[in-house]
């Protein structure tokens, strides 16, 4: 999978690039609108992650140009501005998702995966992880071909875990992905723990191996081994 990362801050690129490469993407970097447009013109990308504020213009121009060239790439806008009009403009231009800084890398990863799934397989594919398979269209979860009834939040949790296997997921990252703007309360106390405990219980009841491990009490690790 080829991914174009358009971000002007070198430090932020340094944290994002290795993370995405570890996820198996071939990452190309662009720091300006000009660079981004030339690179995108020369190569085909599966997904473009673009920052709105760039030194020589707006990331929205890149989105506009990509759409004009009828690029098939999924587009995720990353912005420091938590403003609704910006978000609406971005989505109207044809971006697939909009992420506000500061974000957690596992969240970006989950969103990229979801965009790619929609783009490349039109959402028709089942998500597989060990004994678990998920139909992203109907939100149906099967363990060993048996349906598991999950609440919406539990479903979101499972999706997030499966999108980020073998990685430490901090409680803050999980809470933000599942509860979004209302995470302030989720982050506190052991609210998150209750929901994860219920999810794990439901999966184990269907004979699913225990993929979920807590790590030092600061986060969770989802892995087959």
């Amino acid at each position: 999978m080829k991914l174009l990362l358009i971000e002007d801050d070198p430090l932020l690129r340094k944290t994002m690039q290795p993370y995405l490469e570890a996820e198996g993407y071939t990452v190309t970097i662009a720091a300006t609108v000009r660079q981004a447009l030339t690179t995108a013109y020369d190569h085909e990308y599966d997904c473009v992650v673009v920052d709105i504020s760039l030194p020589d213009g707006s990331g929205l121009d890149v989105v506009r140009q990509l759409k004009k060239e009828q690029s098939g790439a999924g587009i995720i806008i990353v912005s420091a501005k938590d403003s609704l009009p910006d978000k609406l403009t971005g989505l109207e231009l044809g971006a697939d998702d909009y992420l506000t800084k500061p974000f957690h890398l596992p969240e970006l990863n989950a969103r990229i995966k979801s965009v790619l799934r929609r783009r490349l397989f039109a959402g028709q594919t089942l998500i597989q992880f060990g004994a678990i398979s998920i139909d992203p269209l109907t939100h149906q979860v099967l363990v060993e071909k048996q349906p598991v009834i999950l609440t919406e939040k539990e479903y979101q949790l499972l999706l997030f875990f499966i999108a980020n296997p073998n990685r430490l997921l901090t409680k803050a990252a999980i809470a933000e992905y599942v509860w979004g703007d209302h995470m302030d309360l989720a982050n506190s106390h052991d609210f998150l723990y209750t929901h994860i405990k219920n999810l794990r219980k439901k999966l184990l009841e269907r004979g699913c191996p225990d993929y979920l491990k807590t790590r030092y009490g600061v986060g969770y690790l989802f892995s087959e081994t």
């Binding site: 501005k81 403003s83 430490l168 030092y216 600061v218």
Partner: protein, 428 residues
């Protein structure tokens, strides 16, 4: 007090003493003039008598009449031959009343060869003249008053007309709103020009002020935007690096604790930054409004927070009225109500019930908790928070108040019998 009224008062304050004094002076002047004329007349009459009396064969009766009285005197030499004028009164038999008189009394010598002298008294009734004086004074006063009245009317009308551009400017000022994005065709300096120099100066000054305000406002907004960008990126990097550090092996419990504390600090900084930016954006009116279905919005938030309430062992009851609408920004509406709900969950005593009621004209949320650890008036102030909850930003209720103020909503707070009540009244 209107300028016109003030001007009127000053004018009357000056005009009345001038009118009264003027009438008095005028009366004196006319009276003195008439008197000197009368005196002159009497003098010339006297001269005639003196000439007649000096001739031989002078007959007293030929000259005596109602106003002239000549009496022969046989005393020695005349005591004085200087005429003496005096004001006196006498009974006028024709008018049958006492009338004022001007009288000249003098002693003149008789014709040569005769002994003695004549005592001459000349009188001139002044009644008619006094009437003339009064008539003159009254007509002058009346003319003055009529002229003054006309002047006032004319000036009032003129003032209203002349000050028209001024009233227009004040109307414009009252409607003036600092808009970061003026509508197309609407100038930043909207105050109309005038052909009167003073008003042109005023309108130029106002336009300049408007431009200055606008550029300052834009600079502030630019700063806000920049602050958002410039702070969010380093915060993102720090968060990513701390996450990565936490993923490395092996870590001692102390190291993990250190990283966790740093992450908690970053988390607080992120929330603070977001809330402060939101407050700034509300201050500078950066939101557009549309009709919001409050019933649907609050209903959704109540469902979202039901999980949290359950986790805190709280009862969660909502009495709702469908179809409550209000014109406001949907995002701000969500911030307003979700902060009230979060506040109730965060501070409630476990095993109690949070009671929410949406009426057509108000939203009320009631929860059970210990009394406030600070004075009630500080409740909505920024960074005032319960010392028992240091992780709270202390900005939630400030946001609530700021949004309420923006839309002219009334926020009420009450504490009775261990129940805290927040009430938002929709007065649109």
């Amino acid at each position: 007090m209107k300028l016109l009224h003030k001007w009127l008062i000053y004018l009357l304050l000056v005009a009345i003493p001038v009118a009264v004094g003027g009438v008095w002076v005028l009366q004196r002047l006319i009276r003195d003039n008439i008197r000197s004329e009368v005196d002159e007349q009497l003098r010339s009459d006297l001269l005639l008598i003196q000439q007649q009396a000096g001739k031989p064969g002078f007959d007293l009766r030929s000259l005596s009449n109602l106003r002239t009285e000549i009496t022969p005197k046989t005393d020695a030499q005349p005591t004085a031959d200087k005429p003496i004028f005096s004001d006196t009164v006498a009974f006028d038999p024709r008018e049958r009343e006492i009338v004022p008189l001007r009288r000249l009394a003098v002693t003149i010598p008789t014709a040569p060869g005769q002994t003695g002298h004549y005592r001459v008294t000349l009188s001139q009734p002044m009644g008619e003249f006094n009437e003339i004086i009064q008539l003159l004074s009254v007509s002058v006063t009346v003319t003055f008053v009529v002229l003054l009245g006309l002047l006032l009317l004319l000036n009032g009308w003129l003032l209203r007309r002349l000050w028209q551009p001024f009233y227009h400017l004040t109307d414009q000022l009252r409607a003036y709103r600092l808009d970061p994005k003026p509508a197309i065709g609407q100038p930043i300096a909207p105050f109309a020009d005038s052909d009167v120099t003073e008003f042109r100066q005023l309108s130029n000054a106002l336009n300049e002020m408007s431009r200055n305000l606008h550029s300052q406002f834009m600079a502030q907004r630019q700063f806000t935007d920049n602050a958002a960008h410039e702070m969010q990126t380093p915060l993102t990097i720090t968060g990513h690096e701390l996450d990565r550090l936490l993923g490395t092996e092996p870590l001692s419990p102390e190291q993990i604790e250190t990283i966790e504390r740093a992450q908690a600090g970053i988390g607080r900084l992120v929330r603070l930054n977001k809330s402060l930016l939101l407050l700034t954006r509300i201050d500078s009116h950066q939101f557009t409004d549309e009709p919001v279905d409050l019933s649907a919005l609050i209903g959704r938030l109540v469902t979202v927070y039901a999980d949290f309430a359950e986790h805190h062992n709280l009862g969660w009851a909502f009495n709702q009225t469908p179809g409550v609408m209000m014109t406001m920004n949907p995002f701000l509406a969500e911030v307003l109500f979700s902060n009230l709900l979060q506040n109730a969950i965060r501070h409630s005593t476990p095993q109690t019930t949070v009671q929410m009621t949406l009426a057509p004209d108000a939203f009320e949320i009631q929860n059970t908790a210990p009394p406030l650890p600070f004075a009630a008036y500080q409740l909505f102030e920024r960074f005032v928070k319960n010392p028992a909850q240091p992780e709270s930003t202390g900005l939630g209720l400030s946001l609530v108040q700021q949004i309420a103020q923006l839309y002219g909503l009334e926020i009420g707070y009450d504490y009775a019998d261990g129940r805290h009540t927040f009430r938002v009244v929709f007065v649109q």
